[in-house]
């Protein structure tokens, strides 16, 4: 019965995600009607259509070149940030942490900016983003554990704040030395968070490691329940705590660092989506992780749609997720506090 209930949640959320994806594909400065979209699908699948070739070519261009990469990237990044947030919260037994709060996004953005400065190879940018993302988590944990030997929710958050500030300062140095006419504006705009630079090839390249990370986190989800009870209890229940923690942190850091490489710093998603899902279906990670992935994708898709459509100019999505995330988190904090104590 429980499995059926889980299945229903997953199917319903996947349908919602698909609806959000279709909405994002159709809506924009050039609006594509449902009827036209079905005709386009008919043409792509069966090579028959009543629409003229010129319109089909235009729709083909809009969907494949502009909107599809953006939709796929939004789903990937939303899923990556949300699952990473849920996993970090379980690994550190701390509902207040996320890739942003632990400093991963700041560390990864510093690494990616270094990569952009020293190399034109995308893979170098990705590797440096991951390395510095990982260093920033390690630094946050180190600071948290230096001050107190016991596990402290607040100290880890403060460790993350310090780590994030350090890498933000280092990033400022990169900005300072970057070419003010080309590299600097590119870095600044990229850091605000945007999905507009996506093309299908780049999306597919980053989709592989992000999807592997998310799949890995979903497969390991049963251990996260036990790990969130604390190390001693998890070990006594048969978990290889050190191994699971290292793999989980590597996967979560990889997914969130790659999101930074592709779209800059998109904050709050990794914090609020796991909380909203937890409030809706409970804390069991076997459902929380896959549902966070789906809901995170849908949330970022909708946020991206708003960022494109709300004003005549596109609002950077990172700014928008912060504006949406802060009030949601205040509500979540109020409701969830009782369960944390």
């Amino acid at each position: 019965m429980r499995h059926k209930k889980h299945g229903r949640y997953l199917i319903a959320s996947t349908l919602l995600l698909m609806a959000a994806a279709i909405f994002s594909l159709l809506w924009g400065q050039y609006h594509i009607g449902m009827e036209t979209f079905f005709e386009y699908l008919n043409y792509k699948l069966f090579a028959t259509s009543v629409i003229d070739q010129g319109t089909l070519a235009l729709i083909d261009n809009i969907i494949l070149e502009i909107r599809l990469p953006r939709v796929l990237l939004a789903i990937l990044i939303g899923a990556a940030l949300s699952t990473s947030g849920a996993v970090f919260q379980a690994m550190f037994v701390n509902p207040l942490v996320s890739p942003g709060i632990l400093g991963v996004l700041a560390g990864a953005s510093f690494g990616a900016a270094c990569g952009m400065l020293i190399s034109e190879h995308w893979i170098i940018v990705q590797i440096l983003a991951f390395i510095f993302g990982f260093i920033s988590v390690g630094f946050a944990v180190l600071i948290g554990s230096m001050v107190t030997s016991s596990r402290s929710t607040v100290m880890l958050v403060l460790g993350g704040v310090i780590s994030g500030s350090l890498f933000t300062s280092l990033l400022s140095i990169i900005k300072y030395v970057a070419d003010p006419y080309s590299t600097l504006p590119a870095i600044v705009y990229w850091l605000m968070g945007s999905l507009s630079m996506a093309n299908l090839n780049e999306v597919f390249l980053v989709a592989i490691p992000i999807s592997i990370s998310i799949a890995g986190m979903i497969f390991m989800s049963k251990y996260f329940d036990l790990m969130s009870l604390g190390d001693e209890e998890a070990k006594a229940l048969g978990v290889n705590v050190k191994f699971i923690r290292i793999i989980a942190i590597v996967l979560a850091t990889l997914a969130s660092s790659l999101s930074v490489v592709m779209a800059g710093i998109i904050g709050w998603v990794g914090l609020i989506i796991p909380h909203i899902i937890r409030m809706a279906v409970g804390p069991s990670h076997r459902l929380l992780i896959p549902l966070s992935a789906i809901a995170g994708g849908a949330f970022l898709l909708l946020a991206d749609a708003v960022s494109r459509l709300a004003l005549s100019v596109e609002i950077p999505i990172g700014i928008l997720t912060s504006l949406i995330g802060i009030p949601i988190f205040i509500i979540v904090l109020k409701n969830a506090r009782a369960a944390w104590n």
């Binding site: 989800s221 036990l226 001693e232 209890e233 070990k235």
Partner: protein
């Protein structure tokens, strides 16, 4: 046929930084026993338990089912021994059933998820100690006594016969303390083996087949509860006076105020 201990500890030493916590402890636990570890704060009871569970590493020999624990993974240990810690709140409020199903994880392959039969085992465990009505309740919202019972159900779902409990009645009100002791008694009658730490000589008198008294990192007395728990032992270990009286054919420990 010689009876082999399920847990064997020989000449165990453990130090935390420069402070010696255990100084040569020998202990054996046999199937069907209820052993109470008694002693003042800091005498090394909890440390001994954690060393047996491989949660800490000391010097000396510890064997579970005749095999050194160094050769076991945590998963192997969890398939021999269940640990019931003092209840603590997790920031994530799992349901009782989810908490009990966690006891099944050591039985699963790396990528396998708990199946319908694992949930069935969890339900059987809840039924066994009469708390199936709590199944869908949030663990964090239960009373201390109910939480401790849920952790016992989780240990039963783990399908092992040896339960190690760290101060099981700590923080419980008087009624829940006694109910939990009754439950330990019932489970012991069904064949489960218990090694538990306690601060209460009275509880050790009520529910133990053997009492081990520790002080200063050493075992200073060992035997049946009636042999070991005496006025003299209470005075030497806790530095207070107490009478051991007989009530309804059972011995009880009654502390005496100085004035």
């Amino acid at each position: 046929m010689e009876l082999k201990p399920i847990i064997e500890v020989k000449d165990l030493h453990f130090s935390y930084k420069k402070h010696q916590v255990l100084a040569g402890v020998d202990l054996e636990l046999y199937r069907g026993e209820v052993v109470s570890l008694l002693g003042p704060n800091g005498c090394g009871k909890s440390t001994l338990i954690k060393l047996i569970l491989k949660l800490l590493h000391g010097e000396g020999e510890i064997k579970i089912a005749s095999k050194e624990i160094e050769k076991y993974s945590h998963k192997d240990i969890a398939s021999h021994v269940a640990y019931i810690p003092q209840y603590n709140n997790t920031p994530f409020n799992y349901t009782v059933l989810e908490m009990v199903v966690m006891g099944r994880v050591a039985k699963l392959d790396f990528f396998a998820l708990p199946s319908a039969s694992d949930y069935e085992m969890a339900n059987i465990a809840l039924k066994k100690i009469d708390i199936e009505h709590l199944s869908n309740r949030a663990f964090g919202q239960l009373s201390g006594g109910q939480k401790q019972m849920v952790l016992l159900a989780r240990a039963i779902a783990q399908e092992v016969n040896v339960f190690i409990m760290d101060e099981p009645v700590a923080g419980l009100d008087y009624g829940n303390q006694i109910r939990l002791l009754e439950l330990i008694n019932e489970l012991s009658a069904q064949g489960y083996t218990f090694l538990k730490t306690t601060h209460y000589p009275d509880h050790a008198l009520l529910v133990s087949s053997r009492v081990v008294v520790m002080n200063g990192g050493k075992i200073i007395a060992e035997g049946t509860p009636y042999e070991v728990i005496t006025s003299k032992m209470i005075e030497s270990v806790y530095d207070i006076k107490a009478d051991i009286i007989t009530h309804d054919a059972h011995k009880r420990c009654v502390p005496i105020f100085k004035k």
